[in-house]
Amino acid sequence: MLSTSPAFKENAHKAIADVGLQKALTRTKPHFQGRRAKAVEALPEFERLREIGRDIKNHTLANLDFYLETWAGNVERAGGQVHWCATADDARAAVLGICERVGAKTVTKGKSMISEELGINEHLEQHGITPVETDLGEYILQLRREPPSHIIAPAFHLNREDWEESFRRAHTDLPADRVFRERRDILTEARAKLRARFLAADVGITGANFLIAETGSSVIVTNEGNGDLTQTLPRVHIVLASIEKMVPTLEDATNMLRLLARSATGQDFSVYTTFSTGVRREGDLDGPEEYHVILLDNGRSAMLGTEFQDMLRCIRCAACMNHCPVYGVVGGHAYGWVYPGPMGAVLTPTLIGIDQAGNLPNASTFCGKCESVCPVKIPLPKMMRHWREREFERHLTPGAVRTNLALWGFVARRPGLYRLATRIGAGVLGWLGRRRGRLSRFPFAGGWTAGRDLPTPEGETFFARYASEQRGKRGRA
């Protein structure tokens, strides 16, 4: 997928002006946040499960080579094949190779962010193979030729009228004057259309939420059942999975699953949690005859042993973006690549480069909400700071920002000067806002004051106040 991350600022401006998107964001936020809060409240052990989840992932990452080899051995024992793909090109070639070998014409697909990362659909289309997205949200995005705007609710940015319009345009064999009385009619039409696709497909491609070393299994979690039809009906099942999806045992996976649905959709458990292990067994009446796992690295191994290693714990639940004030205003497309929100702000620079994605770790208020809801306690704000440092070191930060940072740094390293400057600043601002206590315009901060007033200081600086309180305490003691 091509990135528009360098244009984050323009993207964000457009997103804020997009009436349909703003309507969708306003509608969605209470669902995303409220449902999670309710599910977490109903499970007193949740906090402890987060700590265990973090520890399981840390243990796995520290021994990732061992667990990958163990897992691959078990996949092969169950009749499956592992395709070790160091790069996105290798992975695209491996998928296409399998599809061409079995003479595939159409390929059904379950939801997979790795698929977006690889641009599998475009690659297959270029080679005359038709990919069909079967997750309802992904299906309409494919009809509209749009990327997902969220990692678990890919089409949340669309409103009902968008669905109706797209379905009328795409399903031209149905009466043009049909009425969609309720949302259920839209769903029913998609179900009927996709049923035929499921039955005709030669290959089914799914993602994986987890890989399990102990059994050689891949796990998918869905509510619709599309992933299960995708991997059950065609003759060939291809799993797209990146190396960090690994967990050692079923018990480890179980702990992660107790966290995943609650953090993602606020469900206690998703409708279908399915463990796939190899090929159809002797006597089985259904299931694929071939089982392939495309095991993708694509830059992830290089995060090990660095300040970004913790990011590999991510289980893609989307809680961080669901609670992010920046994502909540600009939505997912503004981030310009596959992974939006705080997790995207950390992951995207590692995968496509800080020169491409430098804007993303800057698109944060550092409120810390993302880290506080992360089911595996990834220190997202800290890692965004690391990216800002790297951006600065590599001289990718814009000149004006560098100059101002240098100026601030000069003053901040001289405490006497810093106190003097803040005292003067607080005094001047306080005097300017002496009537209303706020300013509606301020030089060089037009962007900030366009949407809100700037409150002005009332009285002394923090330092002065802290010093006088300390003196007061000592006086009492």
């Binding site: 691959a72 094949q81 949200g137 949302r183 190396i243 179980t254 191994s301």
Partner: protein, 251 residues
């Protein structure tokens, strides 16, 4: 056999990925004593914290299971024994205004049901097809913690029977309801042998919690996305202890 993505001039994928991991972890392959510890962890597959909510009497676990199925938009009929099954199914299908043609998993437990008592039910044993409207599956086990069915694939338990029909019926014995997922994994570990791997894991294990749904259209929940729109569980009360009054009515 492992397929290696190995474009000319570069090491095969497996070597490249494992090498990169070890390089960044600043070590070589794990020393034998550490690998042995990890193998021991896999063999012991230790449990982690299990939420207290399912730590109940047998009757309490069954009540919790039913409450959770209903919370997730499924339904449950409690039946005294297998003889009550044909009548219960006929009544349910009539109530829902559904046809009485059923595709049934070819499981001995389902075959042994005295179907002849309800000659109007038309049963076909086998895998499900897209045209099937009603299916009947055999439940291997169920988890009270979240109202979840465990359905491992087997010749007598085809996966398509879980997925293709509009209305999915599942026969479940109350004695197979456990508290937590870990206990269901233990049943699978103890009772199943896979013909291909010699391990316990079948090709496919589905954990099913309620009927299929989607909230992709304006974050509003609609049932019956690609899988069944209705999930109805026929619960056989074969567990004496589970028939007692539960200690509390779970939320």
């Amino acid at each position: 056999m492992s397929a290696e993505a190995s474009p000319p001039g570069r090491p095969p994928g497996r070597v490249a990925i494992l090498g990169a991991i070890r390089r960044h972890l600043r070590r070589g392959a794990l020393p034998e004593d550490q690998a042995a510890m990890l193998r021991a962890r896999l063999a012991a597959h230790p449990r982690h914290l299990i939420p207290a909510r399912s730590r109940l009497s047998r009757a309490g676990q069954v009540a919790l299971f039913i409450a959770n199925v209903e919370k997730e938009f499924g339904s449950v009929a409690r039946l005294a024994d297998a003889r009550a099954v044909p009548g219960a199914i006929a009544d349910y299908l009539a109530q829902q205004n559904l046809p009485s043609e059923i595709v049934m998993a070819p499981h001995p437990e389902l075959r042994e049901i005295p179907w002849a008592e309800r000659p109007l039910l038309k049963l076909r044993a086998g895998r499900a097809e897209a045209s099937d409207l009603v299916s009947l599956q055999q439940g291997f086990a169920a988890i009270a913690e979240t109202g979840t069915l465990m359905l491992p694939a087997a010749p007598e338990r085809p996966t398509t029977v879980n997925l293709l029909a509009d209305t999915a019926l599942v026969l479940l014995r109350a004695s197979r309801i456990v508290g937590a997922y870990e206990e269901a994994w233990d049943l699978l570990r103890a009772e199943r042998r896979d013909p291909l791997t010699g391990g316990f894991m079948p090709r496919n294990v589905m954990l099913v919690t309620g009927p299929s749904r989607s909230a992709d259209i304006e974050q509003t929940l609609e049932l019956g996305a690609h899988g069944p729109r209705r999930l109805h569980i026929l619960l056989l009360d074969d567990d004496e202890a589970a028939r007692a009054t539960p200690e509390s009515v779970p939320k």
